[in-house]
């Protein structure tokens, strides 16, 4: 059996790409990372060919067949490399994981974006409240578990942990600290970062925060 040819089209600041990197690392799958240039750069031919509909990263190329949309990619990875499963075994457990995946995808990054793009004080206040309300639900569902997946790091954990590299930027411009508001969630972030698969896959929050600062200047927010 030949070795799998796995490539990942990614961009360094994208939390959606970071998710895929964590998943591949968790499954011990070797891959070649092909970096798209920054957001403002022209998209490569390979990206446009691999994802003609959305023209966005991440794209997983497995034996040159493209899989797109990060949550979809994680599902694919979990099925093709079934050792160390990321999703619960039972259909109900899977449906709960997918529910929270959908919630995270719909809510977290857009709300975070509202925080760092807010200009006036009242906009910042309202964006902060919205973001913290979302964290409240996540904190609630985490409960007393070590991970969203229970005892083991799994699907929902991976989907959320990539986004947390952007949290210090949201905290800076939103005027809050996750560990003050939701210490259990903050503990989960620390616990997850202790995993090599996470710490090696995520872009440093400092680099992200600088990037956000630069974008704020570009958009005339500060």
């Amino acid at each position: 059996m030949g070795k799998d040819d796995v490539k990942l089209l990614s961009m360094w600041a994208s939390p959606f790409c970071m998710r895929v990197k964590v998943a591949l690392a968790e499954k011990d799958v070797a891959y070649e990372e092909i970096l798209e240039s920054d957001l403002m750069g022209a998209k490569t031919e390979l990206l446009i060919k691999s994802n003609p509909v959305h023209k966005q990263v991440p794209v997983l190329l497995h034996d040159d067949k493209p899989v797109v949309e990060s949550t979809n990619i994680l599902t694919y990875i979990d099925e093709v490399w079934p050792a160390k499963p990321l999703l619960p075994a039972c259909a109900y457990g899977k449906s709960r994981a997918r529910f929270w995946a959908d919630y995270i995808d719909r809510k977290v990054f857009p709300a975070g974006r509202n925080v760092w793009t807010a200009k006036e004080d009242d906009q910042v206040e309202s964006a902060r409240k919205e973001f913290l309300d979302i964290l409240m639900y996540l904190d609630g569902t985490l409960g007393e578990q070590d991970y969203f997946n229970g005892d083991t790091f799994g699907f929902v954990d991976i989907l959320l942990i990539g986004l947390t590299s952007w949290f210090p930027a949201f905290e800076k411009y939103g005027g809050f600290k996750v560990e003050d508001e939701y210490p259990k969630l903050a503990a989960w972030i620390t616990r997850s970062y202790a995993r090599e698969t996470v710490s090696e896959s995520l872009t440093s929050p400092e680099k992200i925060t600088n990037f956000v600062g630069m974008m704020r200047q570009m958009y005339g927010i500060e």
Partner: protein, 221 residues
Amino acid sequence: MLLVEMKEEVILLDFWASPYGMRVKIALEEKGIEYKRLGENLQDKSPLLLQLNPIHKTIPVLVHEGKPVCESLIIVSYIDEVWHDKSPLLPSDPYQKSQALFWADYIEKKVYDVGRRVLWEKGEKQEMTKKELIQGLKELEGELGTKRYFGGENIDFVDVALVPFTCWFYSIERRGNFSIETECPKLMSWVKRCISERESVAKTLQDPLKIYDYYNELDPQ
């Protein structure tokens, strides 16, 4: 009704005009699953709905063995996994499955979310949204190609994801003053095929005129 009383049954909390609810009903019918339907009044949601779906407070909600499953496409995946021996909706091959999930997500973002906006937007904004909707539908026509259904010879997850919204097309056309059939004839042939050849679809889709009457009451012109 207590959750413990629901343990033996499959129950669906639903609203008659909701295309999201229709997705679940088509899946249940395709699999021949008996279920009890509880109709919700969206203007006055039941305590049961709020208990079963406290985060989004929306229908559809499927209750199976006393446990709630929310979000229509997640429910359809769940149904497909639990009752996997009949009329499979998702392919077992991971790559083909990823393609089906991709198109279902596309339908959500480019058809449902965009189509709804045509209903209430006006002027230039509505014109742009109409163009966006037609673009999305044409992309789907491309994906359908010469196949009978998105699933090939049988309906699949993508067909189930898309077909319910088509009973809202008449309302969207009236409010947007345009014809989807003129722009996307192949897609409309697919709709007619689904209704005439699949009992699950014929039984479930609502009359577009009834949907339009309902929408007019909700948002009179």
